[in-house]
């Protein structure tokens, strides 16, 4: 197992390098630079600024300078937020994103699996239709629609919860963003679970278990769920990476100080180091999550267990 994990980690290094290289040059090819703005800079001042950030050098040279700094874990300064380094920005955004994303994924996993299982057990009955109807709506309604409606209803009309704001992570400030973020995930997970659960419930080993006279509840909890969860687990890997790194929509609607907004804003601002920082961070997280998924898989499915 350990040598397998080690091997996977080693192959991750060239993968990351390729991602870094592509992202670096794609960013430079995009028209418009970090210092093009409504208030145009006099040429001399622009030259001063470009020089300060090594942007006056040829692109390939900038690339090697960047790689050299990366080796020392120096992600550089943000061009836009001059008082902060890229590392500081990402680290300061992580707690909020992890907190909201983590809670949303937990909520989505439990409710999604629960609902999906229920729907499968009552296949083609009213409960099933109700759950799947709600799930379809959850998938169809984008969160830039759901989030403002939730904050209007619970924040403005009922005034139960804050409309937006972080409040240093107080529980009341977390409720609406977590729910908004979890809703589509609940829907996906419920649909996935239902599909595979139906398949598993019709499989031979479940029939065997029932034939042995095991109580239905135990059949479902001990035997069926384990098999039915495989597709959910492979979905959860990238989903955890995506949800915990924040969502630009949820963060701007609820004013959450997370990293999600940097994915979009940094690219729009042509803030090269910040774009590179979030790309590397996200790619690493995806690589790690996929590795975890594969490891978990081998526990859930004996057929896939890797030897030594």
């Amino acid at each position: 197992m350990f040598s397998y994990i080690l091997k996977r980690l080693l192959t991750a290094v060239p993968t990351l390098l390729i991602i870094i290289t592509i992202a670096f040059f794609m960013m430079r090819i995009a028209p418009g630079g970090p210092f093009d703005q409504e208030r145009q800079l006099p040429p001399e001042i622009e030259a001063n600024i470009l020089k300060a950030y090594d942007l006056d050098k040829p692109v390939y040279e900038q690339y090697f300078i960047y790689l050299g700094k990366l080796l020392q874990f120096d992600f550089g300064p943000s061009y836009k937020f001059r008082d902060f380094s890229v590392t500081e920005l990402i680290l300061s955004g992580l707690p909020a994103s992890f907190q909201i994303g983590g809670l949303a994924i937990l909520l989505a996993t439990f409710i999604g699996i629960g609902l999906g299982t229920l729907a499968a057990l009552y296949q083609n009955q009213k409960t099933d239709y109700a759950i799947m109807g709600v799930a379809m709506t959850g998938i169809a309604v984008p969160n830039f629609v759901a989030a403002p409606i939730l904050s209007l209803v619970f924040g403005v009309y009922l005034a139960w919860l804050p409309v937006a704001g972080w409040g240093d992570g107080a529980a009341r400030n977390l409720v609406l963003p977590v729910i908004s973020l979890a809703l589509p995930q609940i829907a996906y997970i419920a649909r996935l679970t239902r599909g595979s659960m139906i398949e598993v419930l019709h499989s031979n080993y479940i029939r065997t278990a029932r034939a042995k006279g095991i109580r239905e509840r135990l059949v479902v909890i001990r035997h069926a769920i384990k098999g039915a969860l495989l597709p959910v687990v492979s979905y959860l890997g990238p989903a955890v990476a995506a949800v915990t790194t924040g969502s630009v929509v949820i963060e701007s609607i609820y004013d959450i100080p997370g990293v999600g907004r940097y994915f979009v804003n940094a690219a729009l601002n042509r803030d090269y180091p910040l774009v590179m920082g979030v790309v590397i961070f996200y790619a690493t997280l995806i690589l790690i999550m996929n590795l975890i998924v594969d490891v978990v898989y081998s526990f859930l499915d004996p057929k896939l267990r890797v030897s030594g």
């Binding site: 630079g33 001063n48 909020a96 629960g114 403002p148 209007l152 804050p162 004013d255």
Partner: protein, 536 residues
């Protein structure tokens, strides 16, 4: 059998979720803040709080509450003495001598003339790479030092003693006093910068000489300023704390204003105005703003270099429809480039065809196009570029329809994100484009300067008219304000005849201010320092 068991499970889940929501809902209200706290929807995260590295109103609004320049703004935006108690000007209008007020930084160290000198040297130093340094080129030697042609000794700023500062200008610039209230001219605590370097502007490190000081800056969450007890006029400051929320989504911020979570919102969407006027009329503050929305026309372009075409395009834009039907937030139709109410300029010259009705303008424009060799059947196609924004799009579509209807001109709408748009303008890769300008300081020169040929970075149209350039140069060297205005007025007449830039409308500022806030005065600079505000 299985049904019953799962019903139990379901009931259990429900109970847990209710219990969970119950505890959350009953948590005490931690948003209820002290009455001396003003909460501001800032509509943007500042790039920096170091006055030498900012460029936007969402930054200067915060920084301006922390620092006090030699001059500063009164509640109504007019310029009043700040860190300088008084000053004298030499007869030729070139040498300014400032007598500093006896006051201190928030850490108790006295603010000295040396601090001002060091601040000017810092922002102009080429290695500092401050984006806005060129605003200070009115000071003698500033341009040479900033562009690397001379050393710091060229800068004509002298600290005569701790409380006397002498600044010599490169030409008499009557707006210099107004410029000194701008953030580029704020003092910075040299003792702190030496000690902490780049980190001096973060959290509790920050030392300032204004009414408030920084107490917390969490990126993308909030910025807190607290009252500065060392401020020279602290006795007249009512608020204890300011909290700025950086949220950009205007409709989301509006919801927070409705819920009472935010007291001031510094911008709102035009599309919300109708609803606001009906439901929250006592919040809405719309006032004329020193800014112009205009379309530069590329004079290097084969079609647009013909004055008749430019004039026809300018005349067929129905500004009344644009401001009253398309924008609908009180914007003022522009027939001049310099906005009304700028400095002591008086009323700006206006385009010669302002007196015509729109129908007469269209008829005249059709005649001009015919003379230029175009009629409706062979009208040119013009690419109109704008940067991504709902407003710019609406205006561009309306203008395209007006040109098409009146002149048969086909318009290719070309939308790009802001960085690409301004890169295209800079490299003159456009035909007609959208641009806007908000005054840095209240003087017509700040607007007309956009069309001087030596302004290589902002003269998008590539306008190069010798008479215009000469008049602007004369105005720069003229100490008599009446003569100076006269030169600029003559220059503006030329610009309005030649139309390198088509003025479309003059901006308005749009604020939402809770009726609980006292001391707010609408003004053309849209500057509202918190030292004058209080909460009822």
């Amino acid at each position: 059998m299985k049904i019953k068991q799962f019903k139990q499970l379901k009931a259990g889940l429900l109970a847990v979720s209710i219990a969970l929501s119950g505890t959350l809902l009953t948590t005490p209200d931690n948003e209820a803040l002290a009455s001396g706290t003003l909460r501001i929807g800032n509509m943007g995260e500042p790039a920096s709080l170091d006055p030498h590295f900012i460029s936007g109103t969402w930054e200067s609004g915060i920084v301006g509450n922390m620092f006090l320049g030699l001059t500063t703004e009164a509640a109504d935006g007019t310029i009043i003495p700040g860190a300088a108690e008084s000053w004298t000007v030499s007869d030729d209008g070139l040498v300014y001598k400032f007598m500093l007020r006896d006051h201190t930084w928030s850490d108790g160290k006295p603010v000295t003339a040396q601090d001002f000198k060091m601040a000017l040297e810092r922002i102009l130093k080429p290695e500092t790479a401050a984006g806005y340094a060129s605003l200070l080129y009115t000071i003698k030697g500033a341009e040479e030092y900033n562009t690397g042609k001379a050393g710091p000794e060229a800068l004509a700023v002298k600290a005569i003693d701790d409380s006397t500062l002498e600044i010599t200008l490169s030409g008499p610039a009557p707006y210099f006093i107004a410029q000194l209230a701008h953030y580029t001219a704020y003092p910075v605590p040299s003792h702190k910068i030496e000690e902490l370097g780049k980190n001096w502007a973060k959290d509790s490190n920050m030392v300032s000489n204004g009414a408030f000081t920084l107490s917390e800056w969490t990126p993308n969450a909030q910025i807190r300023l607290k009252r500065n007890p060392q401020f020279y006029d602290a006795a007249n400051v009512s608020l204890d704390e300011l909290v700025y929320y950086p949220q950009e989504d205007r409709s989301a911020v509006l919801k927070r204003v409705r819920a009472g979570e935010i007291d001031i919102q510094t911008d709102f969407a035009s599309s919300d105005l109708k609803w606001l006027e009906k439901n929250m009329p006592d919040y809405v503050r719309i006032a004329p703003y020193l800014g112009v929305y205009y379309y530069p026309l590329n004079l290097d372009d084969d079609v647009l270099k013909d004055l008749r075409v430019r004039r026809a395009l300018a005349m067929t834009i129905d500004r009344k429809i644009l401001t009253e039907k398309v924008l609908r937030t009180g914007e003022v139709a522009a027939y001049s480039f310099v906005p009304p109410g700028t400095g002591d300029y008086g009323s700006s010259p206006e385009v010669s065809w302002k007196g015509m009705t729109q129908a007469e303008r269209v008829a005249e424009a059709q005649k001009l196009m015919k003379q230029a060799g175009f009629d409706k059947s062979n009208a040119p196609t013009i690419r109109l570029s704008y940067n991504t924004s709902e407003n710019h799009k609406k205006v561009a579509i309306a203008v395209a329809a007006m040109w098409k209807k009146a002149l048969g001109v086909k318009t290719e709408l070309f939308n790009t994100e802001v960085k690409v748009h301004y890169d295209n303008l800079k490299t003159r890769d456009f035909q007609a484009a959208r641009a806007g300008w908000i005054a840095d300081y209240n003087d017509p020169q700040n607007f007309l300067n956009l069309m001087e040929s030596r302004n290589t970075s902002q003269n998008y149209a590539n306008f190069n008219d010798n008479t215009f350039n000469d008049l602007m140069r004369k105005a720069e060297l003229e100490a008599d304000p009446v003569k100076r205005n006269d030169y600029m007025r003559q220059a503006e007449v030329i610009a309005l005849n030649e139309l390198p830039n088509i003025p479309i409308y003059h901006y308005v500022s749009k604020n939402l201010v809770s009726p609980k806030v006292d001391g707010w005065v609408d003004n053309a600079s849209d500057i509202h320092r918190a030292r004058y505000l209080s909460i009822k």
